[in-house]
């Protein structure tokens, strides 16, 4: 048991879940056909907001972390209102530029401690450990130390967030708003003329994406205890994009798979870790040439569904179940 619960493994699982959230955040903008490269920027806003609120103002984490998400959302409003009028390439560049502006500001502000970054950020696991202690679990539970127990609790918490987000995304897809999103993605102009307020929904998707990225950033700050401007550079933006590109940006499972693979691979394979950026670059090009829809697409899902439920009778029933369940 101890072998499996060592802090290193537990940390990898935590990063995987954080990356899954980031993957979901880019999925939300992709769901309306927008490519936003500002998620690293939103993540940094969430991370710094929550870290500073807890570090300097002594705010408890259950307040500071949501505050990080809200702060990212507020910034998304500033950038989003002009940006969602923009299409395709303009938006990608504007959001990329936004991330860069945020990074430079963080680099230069006193309160963010510039290039050195913030350290000693209150740890989520310590906070949970204290709670466990007060519950009388100070000596652990059934051979699991309290430290392991609190790490497991953190993982449980992160997993809950991810599960909720997936649930949210699935429900969204088969609701009135989700159909509007999908319509905008397919043909924005036709969606507008069909009666969909495209600007409003693009903005909504942009906000949701920023909020999730902000929350993910805030959680990450309280898991690593240290954040610096380098953590949120262009490379982070590209990495987040890669989750969706590799896994597939059309279905919620795609970015999850992408985040999983890309978190594990560098840990499992030394060569991957050494040539990480080169491999990432190669993957982006290769995916665009051979499988632009990513590993998992809607077609893949349909195929699996028919294999897993061969008795799935007519397609009509399968679709009816998909939209009902």
């Amino acid at each position: 048991m101890d072998q499996w619960l060592n802090p290193y493994y537990l940390q990898i699982v935590m990063f995987m879940l954080i990356n899954a959230m980031l993957g979901i955040s880019i999925y939300f903008t992709l769901a309306t056909g927008q490519l936003s490269l500002g998620n690293a920027g939103f993540m940094s806003v969430g991370a710094y907001t929550s870290a500073l609120l807890s570090l300097k103002a002594g705010l408890p984490l259950y307040l500071s972390i949501p505050a990080g998400g809200v702060a990212a959302c507020v910034l998304a409003a500033v950038i989003g209102i002009p940006a969602t009028r923009l299409q395709g390439i303009y938006l990608a560049i504007a959001t990329l530029g936004f991330g860069e502006v945020v990074r430079v500001i963080i680099l230069n502000m006193k309160v963010t401690n510039g290039a050195l970054g913030l350290s000693g950020i209150p740890a989520l696991s310590v906070q949970i450990g204290k709670q466990l202690n007060s519950l009388g679990l100070g000596s652990g539970l059934g051979g699991i130390t309290v430290q392991q127990l609190s790490n497991l609790s953190v993982i449980g918490l992160l997993a809950l967030v991810v599960i909720f987000l997936v649930f949210f995304a699935l429900r969204l897809r088969h609701s009135r708003l989700g159909r509007a999103f999908a319509a905008i993605k397919d043909d924005e102009h036709a969606a507008e003329v069909t009666g969909v307020d495209t600007v409003r929904y693009k903005l909504l998707a942009f906000f949701m994406s920023a909020f999730v990225a902000g929350i993910a950033g805030a959680l990450a700050a309280h898991i690593t205890f240290y954040i610096g401007p380098k953590d949120f550079s262009y490379h982070r933006a590209v990495e987040i994009l890669l989750f969706a590109v590799l896994g597939g940006g059309n279905v919620i499972w795609g970015p999850l798979l992408g985040a999983g693979i890309l978190t594990l691979l560098p840990e499992l394979l030394r060569t991957v870790a050494d040539y990480r950026e080169m491999i990432y670059g190669g993957i982006l090009v290769i995916m665009m040439i051979f499988r632009p829809q990513g590993l998992i697409s809607e077609e893949t899902l349909r195929l699996w569904r028919s294999k897993l439920f061969p008795a799935a009778k007519t397609e009509q029933e399968a679709v009816a179940r998909r939209s009902a369940g």
């Binding site: 923009l86 560049i93 990329l96 936004f98 860069e100 590209v238 990432y280 670059g281």
Partner: protein
């Protein structure tokens, strides 16, 4: 003093203009933002540096070598990351993503080969200063101004007068029509990408000289500035890229001289974000409404 700042700004701005020209040429013809342009620029800077330090060549040989390398990289970029995507119906974001891939590939390749630290040109090149009253101009500045304005004028002339230049402009106007009119569009595309990349590499050497520092991460910072100029001037607009580049250079120099120098890197995108509020089509772009057909 004001005039000094303007000259410094123009020097810097002329290199930005050359970088932005590369972006805008490719965008004009292919409707693609080549995110790898910054890295081709950076490789150009290293090639120039290597020629000067390892082979003791003169500065103009270094510029020519960089241009050649850039053109070769442009050829490879087009064959590997752009052409395969043109063959089939893919999202218009696909080339953006594949060139992002090339950009981080080249950056980390440069990191592996050259190491992360900044390298500088030998002191011979730091050059002497000419003083005109209170105005000081270094020989490097003169080289930069001469080369970049020379390239801009040559490019304008080439696009306006030569057969290939005209084909490029026709293709930029409308790829399909140009094809129907007998323009070999796939040749035009490859020439455009090679030309843009060659220009980018030259700009790399010039910027390396201007800052006297060449490092793998310069591709990202400078690439971002080129993108800023691209938006500032309007996508695909050649005059816009030239004027936008000069404006950005001057704005940056002034923000350092009269404001907070550490925010210099944010000036470019600060400008864009403001501009996007006011004129989303760029300073020189023309608005286009999307019709029903």
């Amino acid at each position: 003093m004001l005039l000094q700042q303007v000259v410094n700004g123009l020097t810097l701005g002329s290199t930005y203009a050359i970088i932005a020209l590369g972006y805008t040429l490719i965008f004009g013809v292919l409707n693609i933002v080549n995110m790898a342009h910054g890295e081709i620029f950076m490789i150009g800077a290293f090639v120039g540096l290597m020629l000067v330090t390892k082979l003791q060549t003169g500065i103009f040989t270094a510029l020519a070598g960089a241009m050649l390398t850039g053109a070769v990289l442009g050829y490879l970029l087009e064959r590997i990351a752009l052409r395969p995507l043109r063959r089939r119906e893919v999202s218009h974001l696909a080339p953006l993503i594949s060139t992002i891939g090339v950009s981080i590939f080249l950056e980390s390749l440069a990191l592996k080969i050259f190491g992360p630290q900044a390298q500088s040109f030998p002191p011979v090149f730091s050059g002497q200063l000419f003083e005109l009253g209170t105005l000081k101009i270094s020989i490097i500045q003169i080289v930069i101004l001469a080369v970049s304005f020379g390239l801009m004028i040559a490019l304008r002339f080439w696009l306006a007068k030569t057969k290939m230049g005209k084909s490029i402009r026709a293709t930029a106007e409308n790829l399909e029509t140009a094809g129907l009119l007998g323009v070999n569009t796939s040749q035009v595309i490859i020439v455009t990408v090679m030309l843009a990349s060659g220009l980018g590499s030259v700009a790399g050497v010039l910027v390396g000289l201007a800052f006297n520092a060449v490092e793998p991460t310069m591709g990202i910072t400078m690439g971002f500035k080129g993108l800023a100029v691209l938006i500032l001037g309007g996508l695909g607009n050649i005059t816009g890229a030239m004027v936008g580049g000069l404006l950005l250079g001057i704005a940056e120099v002034f923000s350092v001289a009269y404001g907070e120098s550490s925010y210099r890197e944010a000036v470019a995108f600060g400008l864009i974000i403001i501009l996007l509020f006011i004129r989303p089509q760029g300073l020189f772009g023309s608005g286009s409404a999307q019709g029903g057909r």
